[in-house]
Subunit: 155 residues, 4 copies
């Protein structure tokens, strides 16, 4: 049984039919308040889901821990592609991974799986800043984490 | 013509068919994202509307200005009564007034008008605190403001 | 271990330190998007939580099943009392029960527990309608369910 | 004075310092509930703003009227680029235009202006469907509207 709201690792995801390269996810369930007048999950809600997912990924995978003193993470870009609608009460797994690193930023990919099939994908570019909003190069420990866990590439 | 998103006074409200004792309101319009799967404004959205309204009321009527140094306003209770549903695209006016003052708190009433008729009412009890969360008695200037503007009563 | 997002029964709740008369709940975790500028769970979010909880309660306890053909449930009143703030990432259990029945409506109570202590309580009055919005008396099967499960009283 | 929540045309936008090619916009104001724990407008909120804007654009510019019987508009892709944060209470103008048409879809651009400067941009690809979810070619009247009003190009 795959638990809800607990970080899922590769083993959990494989049981759920979600293949490599995904190794991090969260299982959740559509709530009434996430539906819109078309009676499906509203487009905007996916942006909220991936924000929630990103924060949990960064906490649970230790990204915050590798960021150095008083880091500030700012989202520079997000994108969402809608492939199929998701219905009331649906059980879904949202997955996240970091795919690319640049000097002071990294790119994450997201996807939503319902019954083992992708309904939506997304991406975000996240920039690492100091508290004065100057850019901070990604620390080596963070690069190692992204490479080791997710196979992220240096751009 | 009654403006949107601009504090409305008694004269504006009377033109809109909203009677005494209401003397403060904001005109707005239902957005697509405020509808739920039943294709009407979701119940929870009214709590958001009255939060927005309360903040504008406190700013535009000078409540913050009378609160003394570094005040902290905390909502203790809210209540909402739904009398009629509100539809997509509807034009509405939300009104607010302070009706009662106690030692360190005050009670506000809210209502939503569509085409001159009330569809929803609400209330909130707001407590005034110091930054250390100890209670602060309502300053005299605030009492005078609530009494003069809204006819609020001392409980 | 108390699971997330799965209906919790009395046994689960007792393990979590939540006493009688609560016999239904859902465990969840605060998300980043539920915080407001004061860095705690926003007041309005509790109204959303209790909506989510009410829908799951009605589905999982069989309320919809006892309602007769094409029922329509409409919320008439909600109320919320805030006792303590809830922080980012907090683990919480929301509980629900039906306390009172009238001819065509029933009253539910809600509460949020963090670390075994109540931070917020709420209530809602829900009316049962036919599709033409005429009132429908609560069916006997629904009364039995509310009485047996929650000890609800006839008003 | 530029009105709130009323469709703004080119003349209004020019007065607000927003230049060609923008010819459609809506003025609005940041609400308390749109802020997040970082005390600025939350990233996800822009996706909501542009949804609201898109619906008003399609209604007020007559896009729905040119779509033929029982049209269904589905968002296929959205993207957002964040250039500067927006603060509590800020007054902003969101603008929209259609830039490109394909056989059964069109691409819109969005931007948020605060004090005459762009803080965020976005885009969406919208697909026109029949009620059975088969694709419907954009009617000539819709193409003419997008070309005439916005200078949209055929891809």
């Amino acid at each position: 049984m795959i638990p809800y709201l607990t970080s899922l690792d590769a083993a959990h995801l494989r049981v759920a039919g979600i293949e490599d390269p995904w190794v991090f996810g969260i299982r959740d369930r559509v709530r009434f308040g996430e539906l819109d007048a078309l009676n499906h999950v509203n487009n905007v809600v996916y942006a909220r889901w991936y924000e929630t997912l990103r924060v949990i990924y960064m906490e649970d995978c230790g990204v915050y821990d590798t960021a150095g003193p008083d880091p500030k993470f700012v989202v520079k870009t997000i994108g969402l592609d809608y492939k199929a609608e998701v219905q009331r009460g649906a059980d879904y797994i949202n997955v996240a991974r970091t795919v690319e690193m640049r000097n002071t930023s990294f790119t994450m990919h997201y996807a939503t799986f319902v019954d083992g099939r992708i309904t939506t994908t997304g991406h975000a570019v996240v920039v690492l800043l100091n508290q004065d909003n100057s850019k901070r190069p990604l620390p080596d420990a963070m690069r190692t984490l992204f490479t080791t866990q997710d196979g992220a590439l240096q751009a």
